[in-house]
Structure formats: structure tokens, C-alpha cells
Amino acid sequence: MNKLDKINRLLQKIKAKEGDSFTYNEETILAEYKHNDDNKSTTTIKILSVLGGILATLAFVGFLFLTRIFRSEVSMLVLGIVFVIAAIWVNKIYDKLIIDTASIALYIVGFLMIIFGIAEITDSKNFTVLVGLVIALVSLFSTQSYMLLFISVLALSGSLLSFIWLNEKPNAIHLYIVFQTLLLTIIFLNEAKIITFNKKFSRLYKPLRIGIMISFLVGLIATSKRGMIELSDNFFWISVIAISIGILYLIPKILGKLAIVETNSKIMIYVLILLLLGFSSGSPAILGGILIVLLSFYVNFRIGLVIGVASLIYFVSQYYYDLSFTLLTKSILLFGSGMLFIILYLFINKKLVTDDEV
């Protein structure tokens, strides 16, 4: 079999590099390849499962509203717990792709029922949020399913956002963004460390990466549109500085990839980048979009790149649309940034081509 040969060749090559200390469990490796082969998932299938799960959830929530179950907190709570456990348990004993839709629907419905039930019983918003946080955390450590891990990450971030929202401290969104920026940068740049740490972390890596990226994006969207939530202008610098640090931390790594070593080029690049950051300092969302694009391209993460570019286009348009300058000032700002980008393009064109030719 072709595939078997390939795996064996890979293992031999790694062994040759690593030396005799390299040991592996051939049986489990082959088993995992076989499992992946039988349950080969594509992005299309993943999205279809999620959409199906959401559709089924909507119909089920409609059902709950029309029955008396919704009026009884205790039955909501009990049913919710049963559903969440069932979702995780079904995935554990029957780890097949085809049950994804069912377990996604079960999990989301169960999660919502527990939250509604708790909210009715306690009247304490923060306790309800805490329960959501705990369920998400517990699920994160008790399932191996890509989809449930992904949803748990979103539920975790959702709980944090609800905490900010329900306590009417909207400006705390900047702390959330700082936290997500940190997580995002660490996760993207430490793939090797995380996946070799242990099996749990290794399985968590991919759903965590996309989940945190979307959570970060949600935070950015909240800051992007004026008037969507009441945010004071006095705190935007917190997000701006955090994301700028993330970008500046990434730049030397990218310059390393581009093999740029001369000090003059480096100084020029940093001046241009600082100018660019300055131009965008009014909008953490634009900076965040740039961070997502750069990180995704750095680790060659396609879906991330597509999401990053799309959100960047949206954030830039929204920013200039909301900007309360005259059209003439806007025009000069846009024209100036456009020229800056063209200079950057010409610079790269000249610099990197000559480097290749030498």
C-alpha cells in the first residue's frame, strides 16, 4: 500500500535525524491514519455539519418554547445536563464523523438549556456565566472531537463576553482583546511546543487555533462599529498597544524568513511599519485584522488567511465610513496610505528581486 510506504519512509527519516533515542508506537500511528482515512473530513463537510447542527438547534429551541418544558427550570437543567453528557459520551464511544451533526445539536441545545435553567433558578447573572464557563472548560478536557472542542472554545469566549456584557462594563472588552491577542500569538507561534507537550494538547491544537481566532475576531467586531456598544474613546489605546506589540513581535520573524539582514533596510522597514501602525492606531479592529493575516500566512493556515483578509476589508471600510472628518480629509488620508503601500511594494520589488539574483 502506497500510504503505508509513505508513513514508514517518514518514520525512518525522522529516526535517522533524531538518532536511536527516537521511539514511536507504530500501531497507534497506523490506527490513527486508518481512522482518519475512514473519517476523512473536508472543510465542506465540517461546515455542513455545523450548519445542520445549528438548524436542528433552532427547530429544537422552537419546540422548547412551545412546550411546558421551558417553564420548568428543573427539567430544563436536568435535560440540559443529560444532553451535554450524551453529546460528549456519544463521541467517546462512537468516534465517527457522521455523528457530528447530532452531537453538535445535542451539545448546543444542552448548553443553552442548562444556562436558561440556572438563570431562572438563581437570578444571579454572574453565577450563570460561571456555570457556562465551567461547562465549557470541563467539555474542553473531556472530549476529543474536533467539533465539540471548537464549540467549547467558542462557548468559553462567549462566557467571558457575557460576563463583560451582563455586568455593564463594556470597556472591559479591551481586556478581553488583550487576552485573546496574547493567546492567539502564543498558539500560532508555538505549534511545535504545544503539539509535543502531550496528546491532549496535540488534539486540542487545531480546534483551539481556529476557535481563538474567531473569538478574537468577535472582540474586534465589537469595537469596530461606532454605537454598536457604548465604548469610551479613552480605552482604545489598550487594545491598540496590545495588538501593535503582537505585530511588532512578529516582524523580526518575518524579516528572518525574508532573509533581510542589512541594518539600513531594517530601519526603513521599521519606519514604514511604525507609520502604518500610526495610520491605523484609531482602529484596533484594523490592527487585529492585520495580525490575523500575518500570523495565518506565517504558519500557512489558509482558512485563517481568508477570514483575515475578509475581516480586514470589512474593518477598513467600516472605519473610514464612520470617521467624522470631511470627505477631503478622508481622501487625503486614504491617498496617503495608498501611496505608502505602493512605496512598500516598490521597495519589496526592488529589494527582494535583487537579493534573489545575487
Partner: protein
């Protein structure tokens, strides 16, 4: 380790004592973007951003409608920009992609020219004929350059023209006529693009976006008809949807792409559930059944797609 992929690294590292530094080395040398990728990416990124921002700057400048600027200067400025940039695109030795990006910027400037013309001579800025003129004026460039971003601009312009025509002129159209025409218009684009692109990878994302748009419109139309029996005379919409889905299914098999089957299947599921709810009314038990039906249908489709993908992979 010529063709190791990210998945291989994850699986092998999971079941071995592969050291962190070696995994890091392999990731950097085999998976992550390298110098050539970065150079290509940054060039494309900066020229696209440069053209987009500069064009936006020009648009805002003319939108400001500076009264002290004589109309000849206004029109002359945009006109010479368009001519200059087009000549540059036609005769410069830059890469095709860079030239296409610039031509896309020029396409937007043609809109600015028409808008400023309309502003000066009071021809009305929102009228459908403004967009119609713009669409027709750039059509030739779209066919010649055959560049995906140009196609997107062109399709958006044509769709806006049609929607505005319905709003401003065609007051006697029945409610679903616009929907049907939008479906047909975008289908013509999609088929035209399939033929012109000859399976060029550049267009895959564009074709998928257009396909999603068509299927969404068709699903919406059919669901509206289901819930409003008075609209049952709209059989052409139903017929077009059926024909399109059959063609889509064959196209998917032809190109071995499960995407088209997935969106068509999802649309059919939504339609079936709508039909189910219409027949049995929104009763609590019916909603519970609907929820279970969705899960069952989607599961069957996922299983089918997996089998299909596996067969295609093994061929």
C-alpha cells in the same frame, strides 16, 4: 521528507517522542511560508492595498465636490488617470497579476468618471442607467483580463443594475420576478466563468461565492412559494431551480468537487423542512420532528459525501 504535511507531523508527534526542536524545524522547513511565498504574498498584498486605498482616496476626493475646481479639470483629471493607467497596463513589463490589480482599480475609476459627469450635468447619481453604463463600459476589460477580482466587480455591478432597474423602472413585475432574473443573471455569469476559466484555480473561490449566492436566492424563492400559495404561478422559478440543481450535481461529479453537492443538498433539506412545517403547521411536536429530520438528513448527506470523496481520492 519531501511531501510531509501538517497532519502527518501532528499524528507522528502524538505517538512518538519526537523532540520539540525537530518538530519546529520540520514545521519551518516544510509547512510554514518560505522566502519566495512571503515575497509573492507581500508584493500582491501591498499593490492591492496601494491600488485600493489610492482609488478610494480619489473617489472621496471627487465625492467632496470641490466647487472651486472647474468641471474640465475634474473630468480631465480622472480621464487622464484612466488613460494613463490603461496605457501603463497595456505596455508595461510588470507581471500579469500586478497589471490586473491596477486594471481593477481603473475599473473603479470609470465609475468615478461617470459619477462626476452625473454630478456636473445633474443626470442623477442613483439611477440604474449609471450602473448599466459603468457595467457595459468595463465589460471588455473583464473578458480580456479574465481576472477573478475584475469578474467580481463586474458581477456586483450587473446585479446592482438589475436591482435598481426593478426599483426605478419595472414597477409591474411580480414579487418573485426579480429573484428569478437575479438567479438567471448569476447563472449566466457562473457558466460563462466556468467556460472561460478552463478550471483555472484562480476562479475557484469566485465560482463558489456565486454558486452560494444562486443557491441562497433559489432556496429563498422556493420557501416563499411554499408558504404563500398565491405565488404558485411562479412555476418558472421552481423549474429553473430544479434544472440548476441537476446541472450542479453533474458539474460536481465532473470536477470531483463535493462543495456543489453539499450546498444543493443543504438547500433541498431547508426546502423539505419548510414543506414539512407548511403541511403540519408549527406545532411543538412538529418542530421536534423537524429538528430530528434535519439531523437525519444532514447525517445521510455527510455519509454520502464521505463515500464520494473517498471514491474520488482513490481514483
Amino acid at each position: 521528507m519531501e511531501n510531509i504535511n501538517n497532519n502527518d507531523i501532528h499524528i507522528i508527534s502524538r505517538h512518538s517522542n519526537w523532540s520539540t526542536t525537530s518538530v519546529d524545524d520540520v514545521l519551518h522547513s516544510k509547512i510554514y511560508s518560505k522566502k519566495a511565498d512571503w515575497t509573492h504574498f507581500l508584493k500582491l498584498l501591498f499593490i492591492s492595498l496601494g491600488v485600493a486605498f489610492t482609488t478610494a482616496g480619489i473617489i472621496f476626493f471627487f465625492a467632496y465636490n470641490w466647487n472651486d475646481l472647474h468641471k474640465f479639470i475634474k473630468l480631465g483629471l480622472i480621464g487622464s488617470l484612466i488613460i494613463g493607467l490603461t496605457l501603463f497596463v497595456a505596455f508595461s513589463k510588470n507581471s500579469q497579476t500586478i497589471k490586473n490589480v491596477i486594471l481593477t482599480g481603473v475599473t473603479m475609476l470609470v465609475g468615478v468618471l461617470f459619477a462626476v459627469f452625473g454630478q456636473i450635468y445633474q443626470t442623477g447619481a442613483n439611477a440604474y442607467d449609471f450602473f448599466l453604463g459603468w457595467t457595459m463600459a468595463v465589460a471588455l476589460w473583464v473578458f480580456i483580463s479574465n481576472f477573478s477580482a475584475m469578474w467580481l466587480v463586474f458581477m456586483v455591478l450587473a446585479n446592482i443594475t438589475l436591482v435598481l432597474y426593478e426599483k426605478q423602472v419595472a414597477h409591474d413585475w411580480s414579487p418573485l420576478t426579480l429573484l428569478l432574473l437575479l438567479i438567471l443573471l448569476n447563472t449566466v455569469f457562473l457558466i460563462g466563468n466556468f467556460i472561460l476559466s478552463k478550471k483555472d484555480k484562480q476562479y475557484v473561490w469566485l465560482q463558489k461565492i456565486v454558486a452560494i449566492a444562486i443557491v441562497t436566492l433559489a432556496t429563498f424563492g422556493v420557501v416563499v412559494i411554499i408558504f404563500d400559495v398565491d405565488l404558485a404561478y411562479n412555476w418558472p422559478l421552481l423549474l429553473v431551480t430544479i434544472v440548476l440543481y441537476i446541472i450542479g450535481r453533474f458539474y460536481a461529479f465532473n470536477t470531483k468537487d463535493t462543495f456543489y453537492i453539499a450546498i444543493i443538498a443543504l438547500s433541498i433539506i431547508v426546502i423539505l423542512v419548510a414543506l414539512f412545517l407548511k403541511v403540519f403547521d408549527f406545532d411543538s411536536g412538529v418542530l421536534l420532528l423537524a429538528s430530528l429530520l434535519v439531523i437525519a438528513f444532514v447525517t445521510v448527506v455527510v455519509k454520502y459525501l464521505m463515500k464520494l470523496q473517498k471514491n474520488w481520492d482513490n481514483e
